[in-house]
């Protein structure tokens, strides 16, 4: 009796998880399939699931519809520079909050946390005006500068810097290291795992960013890949060329998926608990 109940339980569990896995993978697989079809081939309903002549023609067509190389460069630039700068400035502030005593430290830290309550989106209209005055409309820096030091990032990295032993820092100071030297040679190497997981998450969020590039960029050649791809359905004029659109989405999604599979980002889920419980 017990054995039968537990094998039923196990079957239900695995059945449920298989279904979940299928729902999670299917749209992505299906997209990659259709991206390989010729435009003339039927893509309706179940026809979508078979390909007679796989082709890379759709990807080639993309180059004629959008300035693909500049868009790709813009996406990579904002992702890489954005992630790098935010890691640097967030850990620098996290270091100050974790390892220095100074007047108003706790109050200022609570203030940082409190700022998470209002999202920047709420001020989108004046933000656009400010960017225009700063001459940053159509500049990739408009996507990077406002998020150079974020409250979540400071909060997350501070948690890990707290665990860096004070003795290490003191020893370095006695050896004559300056504040920035300590940060670079003691703190950063000691929080590598936290930096890596925060970098991964930030990079994916920046790569997938849509609202801000849509708002601040308004020239084809200045768009990020995400904005260009979102406009594919209207840029051809004719009936919806699904294989070409899905070739575009494949180009956007594939790098993130490959990065995710390669880095195994969320496998160590324990590391998120600390960041989240606060």
């Amino acid at each position: 009796m017990m054995a039968r109940r537990s094998s039923l339980h196990s079957a239900l569990l695995h059945g449920f998880m298989l279904l979940v896995a299928l729902v999670c993978i299917f749209p992505v697989l299906w997209m990659s399939l259709i991206a390989l079809k010729t435009v003339g081939e039927r893509v309706t309903g179940f026809h979508a699931l078979t390909i007679s002549q796989p082709t890379l023609e759709n990807f080639r067509r993309l180059f004629t519809l959008i300035p693909l190389w500049s868009n790709l460069f813009n996406s990579l630039f904002t992702t890489i520079v954005g992630t790098g700068t935010t890691l640097f400035f967030c850990s620098l502030a996290g270091f100050a909050f974790a390892k220095y005593r100074f007047p108003g430290r706790n109050g200022l830290f609570y203030f940082v946390i409190a700022t998470m309550m209002i999202s920047a989106e709420a001020g989108a209209i004046p933000l656009f005006i400010i960017m225009r005055r700063l001459n940053l409309i159509n500049s990739l820096w408009s996507l990077i500068i406002p998020r150079i030091a974020t409250a979540v990032g400071i909060f997350y990295l501070r948690q890990y810097i707290l665990d860096v032993p004070d003795e290490l820092i003191e020893a370095a100071r006695i050896d004559g290291a300056g504040d920035f030297g300590i940060f670079r040679r003691i703190v950063l190497p000691n929080i590598k795992p936290a930096l890596a997981s925060w970098a991964s998450i930030t990079a994916i969020v920046r790569w997938n960013d849509f609202f801000w590039p849509l708002l601040f960029l308004n020239k084809n050649s200045k768009y990020t890949l995400m904005v260009s791809v979102s406009m594919l359905p209207v840029s051809d004029g004719l009936a919806t060329p699904w294989p070409i659109i899905l070739a575009g989405t494949t180009l956007v999604i594939l790098p993130a998926v490959l990065y995710y599979l390669g880095m195994q980002i969320f496998q160590k889920s324990g590391s998120f608990a600390g960041a989240v419980k606060g």
């Binding site: 998880m17 620098l92 100074f102 500068i145 997938n208 969320f266 324990g270 608990a273």
Partner: protein
């Protein structure tokens, strides 16, 4: 005074970028939004003070009430669907009986890395009335063809499905890390006392996950109130699935009614602020802060 400044110069310098950026790109814009909301302005020229006019107009604008209603639907259904499924998936992933754990973790977390905009285009095709796979499956099962994105009554459904599909993994991860932090000893003791699986779930797991679930609920709330990408890409007829934030964007950057759009922003700010204050009050009552 200068001595103190010298002594504490370094930490203040290290934290200053955040405060400067917060001032310029967050605080000033929010206060400025408040001012613009009392004016009529097209972005050029000088704003004209109109008092409460924008707010009065909002009360009669059916697009605003539509967007408000849609956003509330996204919020409530989002919280319910995401919490339920994320908890179920996290519990399954945490079950000692589950095999191929690595495979299941990798696949169930996959949607989170996929851009909502790109997935929106794909879902748009899946939910297409004539060509979409969803209707094909429904037809094969003898069901009707549903005009998912062309009839107002259905237009919110694909948006909710896309939003939850993509974001559930994130909350699964958070809940899973919560589950991993619950000591095995509790369950062992409960098993010795003869408590079954359900009993253990309700008297150990749920109470210990309470705070994390509450945190998740708030995060989902904020995420749904500023939802933009999903209804933007999967736009239904008229304002049938427009979100409040999306309507703000349309008024501001497509019709250039900056004053009116700012009034919408203020509504959004007030809602987000009250949620945060409510969170703080509840936490304080629970004795956490």
């Amino acid at each position: 005074m200068t001595g103190a400044w010298k002594k504490y110069r370094i930490p203040y310098l290290f934290i200053s970028p955040f405060f400067v950026l917060f001032l310029v790109f967050q605080l000033i814009p929010v206060v400025w939004t408040l001012y613009i909301s009392f004016t009529e302005w097209n972005g050029l020229g000088k704003p004209v003070w109109v008092g409460w006019d924008n707010y009065r107009l909002m009360a009669q604008d059916y697009m605003v009430s539509d967007a408000l209603r849609n956003t509330v639907v996204y919020w409530i259904s989002g919280v319910a669907i995401i919490l339920l499924l994320a908890l179920l998936i996290a519990l399954s992933l945490n079950s000692p009986r589950l095999r191929f754990k690595r495979f299941f973790k990798t696949t169930t977390f996959l949607p989170y890395v996929c851009a909502s905009v790109a997935m929106g285009l794909i879902f748009g095709m899946l939910f297409d009335e004539n060509a979409g796979l969803i209707n094909e499956i429904l037809a094969a099962l003898g069901g009707p063809r549903v005009p998912w994105l062309t009839k107002s009554a259905f237009a919110k459904i694909p948006v909710v499905i896309l939003f939850t599909w993509r974001i559930i993994p994130w909350f699964t991860i958070i809940l899973l890390s919560g589950l991993l932090n619950i000591s095995r000893e509790y369950y062992e003791a409960a098993t010795v006392d003869g408590a079954g699986t359900w009993r253990q779930f309700f008297s150990i797991t749920l109470p210990l996950l309470r705070h994390i679930m509450f945190f998740c609920m708030l995060t989902i709330t904020v995420d749904t109130w500023k939802m933009f990408n999903e209804p933007y890409i999967l736009a239904g007829p008229g304002s049938s699935n427009t979100s409040l934030f999306q309507l703000m964007y349309q008024y501001a950057f497509q019709t250039f009614k900056l004053g009116y759009a700012s009034a919408l922003s203020v509504i959004l700010i007030v809602i987000l602020l009250s949620i945060s204050v409510a969170q703080f009050v509840i936490r304080r009552r629970q004795g956490e802060v």
